[in-house]
Each structure stands twice: as C-alpha cells, then as structure tokens.
Assembly symmetry: C2
C-alpha cells in the first residue's frame, strides 16, 4: 500500500525531476523524438523500468511523440512515492 | 496522398475485420492481455508492422490494456485504405 503524497511533497519531488508536471492528480510529461522508431525504443525502455519497479505508467504514442502519466492505482489513482521514483528512472533513460 | 473512404466503404472494410469500430473518424479497437509484458510485446509488434506500412497508429497503454486508433494524417485525419490495411495486419498479430 502506498500513501498519496501531499501537495508539498509533490512539489518537493518535482524539483528533483525535469519537465514533469502534476496535473489532474497525475505526474505527466511529453517526450518528442526524431521519429517513430526512437519513440518506440523509448517506450520499450520505459516498459523494462516499469516491470523492474512493479509500477506501470499510462503511455500514449502517436508517431514521434510519447505522453506519460503516472499515478498509483493502490492509492486511489493519486500521486505517491512510486510515481516520483518511476519518473526519476524514466528521466535517466534519456 | 490517400483519399478518405465513404461511410459505405468503411462499413465494407469493417466486415473484413474483427472487433474494430469506426467512431469519431477513426478506426478503434481495445486489446486486453494477461499482463503488462504481453501488452508491451504486442505494441512492439504493431510498431514493426507500422514501420513496414509507413503508417502509424495512436496507441494508448495502461498495464494489460492497449487501445489503438487509426486515421490518416494526409487525408485530414480521416479513415483511408491505409487504416483498413494496418487494422487487418494488426489482427493477424494476435
């Protein structure tokens, strides 16, 4: 079980990340690549990281763009430490 | 350049497919897998097919679910033969 973070905890977490926003009770970020292959390769790498952390993102892809949204199902679809941790790992993939 | 299909052409195309709908000027289908790995593997296979056809889907994934929407950018984001062709190829992946 994970606990939802407070607004202050989320703000503190965001300051450690690059380009992530907290909107609609999710952590979100848009990624733009040179083409579809690069976008797909990124999604696969995110997939391995998600499996490693046993925490999975929402991913939306159209051609060279990938949008990721993170929230924790066990915590009523709110933002928890698990989301900050996965966001941080995703940033290191770039 | 691809031409948008008529409603009749789309209906005829759908009768050749399994579980696809034509809504909001896109061909859409929802896929449910046993887990995230299976969903990810499917997306990668769709990706190879998309590259082969030089036509790319919108894909949305959350855990074991993948939603695909097909429309043709060059045809004002309407449904064309390219979408029917990619939908057919995606069905053969399952």
């Amino acid at each position: 079980m994970s606990s939802p973070l407070s607004k202050e905890q989320i703000e503190a977490g965001l300051s450690d990340l690059t380009g992530w926003k907290a909107g609609g009770e999710k952590l979100t970020k848009e990624f733009v690549f040179t083409d579809f292959r690069e976008a797909m390769a990124f999604m696969v790498r995110v997939g391995f990281e998600a499996e490693a952390q046993a925490h999975h993102p929402e991913m939306f892809n159209v051609y060279n763009k990938v949008s990721i949204a993170l929230a924790t199902h066990d915590a009523g679809n709110k933002i928890t430490e698990k989301d900050l941790s996965l966001a941080k790992a995703i940033d290191t993939l770039l």
